[in-house]
């Protein structure tokens, strides 16, 4: 059996490793168009800021050579051009040799990942406009940061863009974020997103909201708020699935053009699987198909696909989109859905908000934190939460994610036996305080 995998990052290489372990007789071939395998794209801002020294290689968890030592046939600089589902073959361009070959497969895994959304604007293809998705992108940004850029503009308010705005500020740049909507981190409710704006502004980042970018020209970004000088532009609008290969092969797409998969990561084509940022997920709360590009999910999907391809039987659980980031001095955590999103999905939802502290209030390094919890009216089922605050605030989102997964109600969360000591929490954990508040309104 030959398994062919397109894409050598989180999903692809996790699957490859699982197949190697579960099907020792299988031939596992990975084609990767870049120079790197198994890297942490989430770490790019910390390399660019200089906080993580030693170059982008520091973000590589496992090199192609180490994968080869493990028996995986990794072919770098190999770009898949087309999938022939009927023939069971993929057309691949070997950039080194400059040759196109067809590689046959018994099972194919599409793990092509995502790509920065590039709006169709004048000048979008100018060389100073960068997406941030691969380590090759990171190398470029790091080089610019080390040369000493002067003015960077981040277009959009996604996680990695905001983190890069902070990274370039730390490098001494004038750092501007231009966001079309009312607030960065569009998944947050508006008032909470405005807390992010305030925190970033207080730190020295020029966050402009309600501003449209209309084009780029050398040294400048044109916006509805006037021209902003820039010697570097980072696209932080969001991530689109790399699904064109699948689409052209006639494979069914789903939410936001991501590749539709079942809960075993099978696509609509026989023998073809997908995993990672290129594919769809099912949302645990709404039941809806969604496209959520997160490293955590890519790893899980790769594991599920790999185990199943190797003959096992594992299902990908529905997702909550749990995510966390630290922006300037503010931690932000999110899981599940907001009350607004729940309402759109036909769930009768209500949100409660508590203002509390990360530690016992009398501790000198206690800082404020906000927990907003969305629950279903009537049943009290927990639907989601947003947490903002100082050190130690945001990772509490995991408690909520676990509670939602278990189908817990607000009353169940109040009953949880959560850890307390003054350096860690108030005696009722902020998550439980939010749940108590929810009990009053459901």
């Amino acid at each position: 059996m030959r398994v062919l995998i397109i894409g050598g990052d989180a999903a692809g290489m996790t699957a490859a490793t699982r197949i190697r372990a579960g099907a020792p007789d299988a031939e596992v071939v990975v084609v990767e168009m870049g120079r790197f395998t198994s890297y942490s794209a989430c770490g790019i801002p910390f390399v660019v800021s200089g906080q993580v020294g030693g170059g982008v290689e520091r973000l590589v968890a496992r090199t192609p050579d180490r994968h080869r030592e493990a028996g995986i046939d990794v072919r770098m600089h190999h770009e898949a051009l087309a999938i022939d589902v009927a023939a069971g073959e993929v057309e691949v361009l070997d950039h080194h040799a400059g040759a196109v070959r067809r590689i046959g497969y018994d099972e194919l895994l599409i793990a092509t990942g995502g790509m920065a959304i590039r709006p169709e604007l004048p000048g979008i293809d100018l060389p100073f406009v960068h997406g941030v998705q691969t380590l090759e992108d990171a190398e470029t940004l790091l080089a610019v940061a080390e040369q000493g850029c002067h003015r960077t503009v981040v277009v959009g308010g996604g996680y990695i863009g905001l983190e890069l705005a902070e990274a370039f500020l730390e490098r001494g740049c004038v750092s501007t974020v231009v966001e079309k909507g009312t607030h960065p981190l569009g998944l947050l409710d508006r008032d909470l997103g405005e807390q992010v704006t305030e925190a970033m502004r207080a730190h020295g980042i020029d966050v402009r909201v309600g501003v449209d970018v209309t084009g780029f020209e050398r040294g400048s970004v044109a916006t509805s708020d006037g021209d902003v000088p820039a010697d570097l532009v980072v696209l932080g609008i969001g991530v689109a699935p790399r699904s064109s290969l699948a689409k052209e092969a006639g494979i069914t797409l789903g939410a936001r053009e991501s590749i539709r998969v079942d809960d075993r990561q099978r696509t609509s084509a026989s023998g073809v699987w997908a995993a990672g940022d290129c594919c769809e997920s099912t949302h645990r709360v709404t039941g809806a198909p969604v496209h959520i590009a997160l490293g955590t999910l890519a790893n899980k999907q790769g594991r599920v696909a790999g185990i199943n391809i190797a003959g096992g039987d594992l299902r990908m659980p529905p997702v909550l989109g749990t995510a966390v980031t630290k922006l300037c001095n503010l931690e932000v955590g999110i899981t599940g859905v907001t009350a607004g999103v729940a309402e759109q999905a036909g769930i009768d939802a209500v949100a409660v908000t508590v203002e509390t502290t990360t530690k016992a209030g009398y501790m000198p390094d206690s800082s404020s934190m906000t927990v907003r919890m969305a629950v279903e009216r009537g049943t009290g089922r927990v639907l989601g939460a947003q947490i903002l605050g100082g050190p130690g605030a945001a990772k509490r989102i995991d408690t909520v994610a676990t509670a939602i997964t278990a189908g817990m109600t607000a009353a169940d969360v109040v009953d949880l036996d959560l850890a307390y000591a003054p350096p860690f929490s108030s005696v009722w954990d902020p998550v439980a305080i939010a749940a108590r508040e929810a009990l009053k309104v459901i």
Copy 2:
């Protein structure tokens, strides 16, 4: 209706507040033998160290006057001497007036709390030997710390004793811990407890294990390892329930002489309730009655008792004993049971251990952390966990506590959608990594 409450700290005043809210016509009388109500005993080490300035009053969440303003008849320096269940009366000594009175009740809540275990050793009643339970104790310790003590000895390896050993070290004292067993924090497995010993020693605290204290005399603690000079001794062996009043009234006691209660906090005597460190709990994992003295549980039990006394219907959930502490540079979290305790309870348990990091491994301030997870063989049901590590490690215990409460298996924990970003976690959260490891052995 008159409700009488004995004890004005967490359990008692939480209940009083709930009764006030739920039964506006009830008379609520609280007798408290000390000078303080509603305080955080867990904060004492941080006042003693000087980290929290402003004296022990900083630990008071609500003063007697504020409770009185809320309509609660709080009587300070009133010591309950005896409960007459048949007559529905409590004999109370008013230390101010020097008079003994009988106070009748329709409902009685015993919330007498706990007391430091005082072993029967020669010299145990010498004035330099202190328990740490009340703010009055805290005032004494703070006075000694501020006067500049030279040598402190903590007897026993309980949370608060260890935290005080660190507090006195910060005050410039020579600080010694004498522990009878193999390691401090006896709930931890031995090898993990030894990590605590090492961390405290590295910080400059003289931790002596396997050493018996044989007596006290002015300026010195006699031990099986020789005499240890001391101008202050703190008893940190553990907390016993203050249940003698209940016992003398013929009320049934349970685990470790704590007051037996049902899941509504009712004792064996009609119209008599108990909550807080004086009473028993039911362990969620083993189903066994246990005595666990924690502020989190005292608050929950007080809430349940108060709501029920006021005519509501709420049940106290079984407990996990989830706890967290920070000792020197090591965070420690624990929940549920160890494999050893599970085995004693007749559960076929196995433990797995993973050594991982608090953040992405490449982050410069990432530190090591250990997760040990106990699971049931066969079913994979999660039974408990111990987490040790650097900043951000221990509060993850809440994820495990939530998973245990939901009856999750190790496979369920692997499936959890937990938050990841390089400053917070590895891409698979350490808790999920431990669960993956558990899957291999069950």
